[in-house]
Symmetry: C2
Subunit: 277 residues, 2 copies
């Protein structure tokens, strides 16, 4: 790991690192916020997965999360949204596929299958790295926004026992049935839609081996609500399976970080409770 | 005024507008955060002046101020940092002079004397516009960062009775005696340094007609501390004049918005007390 920057914030430290990742076979950048408590004890970690077009920096600069994280004694780790070191045909041409749009899955279609293993990176490699190098416990929670909300939900649903809690802001809950998801899954997983199902939160709910309560906030003035996000699909799946879901439709809020900032404290409290902070 | 965008945040609304300014003879953009209380009553206004390279957007996206503003019932107005509609020779060539570097003064050297009247804009025109068009009172406070901290201090010192309170983050307190200020004042005001003095907070302190207490936070790990910011000049001037100053040197903090975010709540509380919120 190589330290890129270290910035004091609310008595703790925001540090950015780059490192060689085995999962994605190249250099990755991530940020970690260590609250003041981490100077004298190990603290649990919230993993935050960002949305399309983002890097590790959007959340750290715009979510306003560190005040509450410092109060609670919670570390926050923000990975990047895709591998960055390659130049595949078309990889950098659109905002919703390729670079900055890794969708937190393991790609099976060449050339993306060589490096786009963001699922392995986020679920296994990054926690190993973080837990080996920082004063943190092995208690983890996960949250994210939009594409990263999808990521948080599938990571939790596919890994019983791995996370203490999960939440999401405006997640893509049913990617097998929306334009963003269809484009990404075709490109990363191929035309055979049977291979898509294991990466779709609404389809994973039925057979989930652990029923961690889901906290989801969704702005009602979100431009992507009807065509891309479709929280009603998650709601129906949770109803059918008896999976606990708190879906809060927030009147007037859009898809931006102003929406996230408005409710991030409540998500951090949700995770803190599960993490016994 | 033309509305550019309207975004819900912490129950209130962040609105961006553009309008034709008489002071700068061209179009200006500003942002206003209206807390939820503004739906049923008039609220006082904090003016926030940003630093070099910034626009109206840096504070709104990165300071994390709206949570506390919504709690207090305080509106926040963020102007841009310079006129934008011109293309004078060299105007856009450096980060510390010309566009995004208006220094909150009235320029007297051509061609900047035609339009760079940010002082008149911030002190007179913008409050008139805001107080005529939004549910706000005529109670005002002012704060800012770096170049904008300089701006906040001179606006308050030169206008007794106009503001209820003033504060600054890492302000340029003595621009007549630092490289940023010398470059800007030479370009906007000319070689005659006697004309510079009325725009220098540390020089205005001696004869200030109102002794509003100054709250200043300064990071001790700020890269610009020694060469550009020199808080000791303000401290000496306040000591000599008996001007009330709370200068807080914050160990480990740099010049970034992570520093501002860490202490903005305390500044908002300072202003709220003076504004009787």
């Amino acid at each position: 790991m190589e330290l890129i920057s270290s910035t004091k914030s609310f008595g703790g430290w925001l540090k950015r690192y780059k490192h060689e990742s085995l999962s994605v076979k190249g250099e990755m950048t991530f940020a970690i916020y260590l609250p003041p408590q981490a100077e004298s004890q190990s603290v649990p970690v919230l993993y935050w997965l960002s949305g399309l077009t983002c890097s590790d920096e959007n959340f750290t600069q715009k979510a306003g999360a560190f005040r509450k994280a410092a109060e609670l004694g919670l570390a926050i780790v923000c990975p990047d949204t895709s591998p960055r070191g390659t130049d595949y045909p078309g990889e950098h041409d659109s905002y919703d596929f390729g670079s900055a749009a890794g969708f937190y899955l393991n790609a099976t279609v060449a050339p993306y299958s060589n490096t786009y293993h963001m699922y392995d990176y986020v679920v296994q490699e990054l926690p190993h790295l973080v837990e080996a190098n920082f004063p943190v416990t092995d208690k983890r929670s996960i949250s994210g926004h939009s594409m990263g909300g999808h990521g948080a939900l599938i990571c939790a649903l596919k890994n019983p026992g791995h996370y203490q809690s999960v939440s999401a802001f405006a997640p893509i809950v049913n990617p097998t049935d929306c334009p963003w998801g269809e484009k990404a899954f075709t490109g990363y997983l191929g035309e055979d839609k049977s291979t898509w199902q294991e990466w779709d939160a609404s389809l994973l709910i039925a057979n989930a081996k652990e029923r961690l309560p889901l906290l989801v906030d969704q702005g009602e003035a979100d431009n992507f609500l009807v065509e891309q996000l479709k929280p009603e699909a998650l709601e129906a799946a949770c109803d059918a399976a008896g999976h606990p879901l708190t879906l809060r439709r927030q009147p007037g809020y859009d898809h931006s970080y102003f929406f996230i900032a408005s409710f991030i404290d409540e998500h951090l409290e949700h995770h803190a409770k599960a993490l016994e902070l």
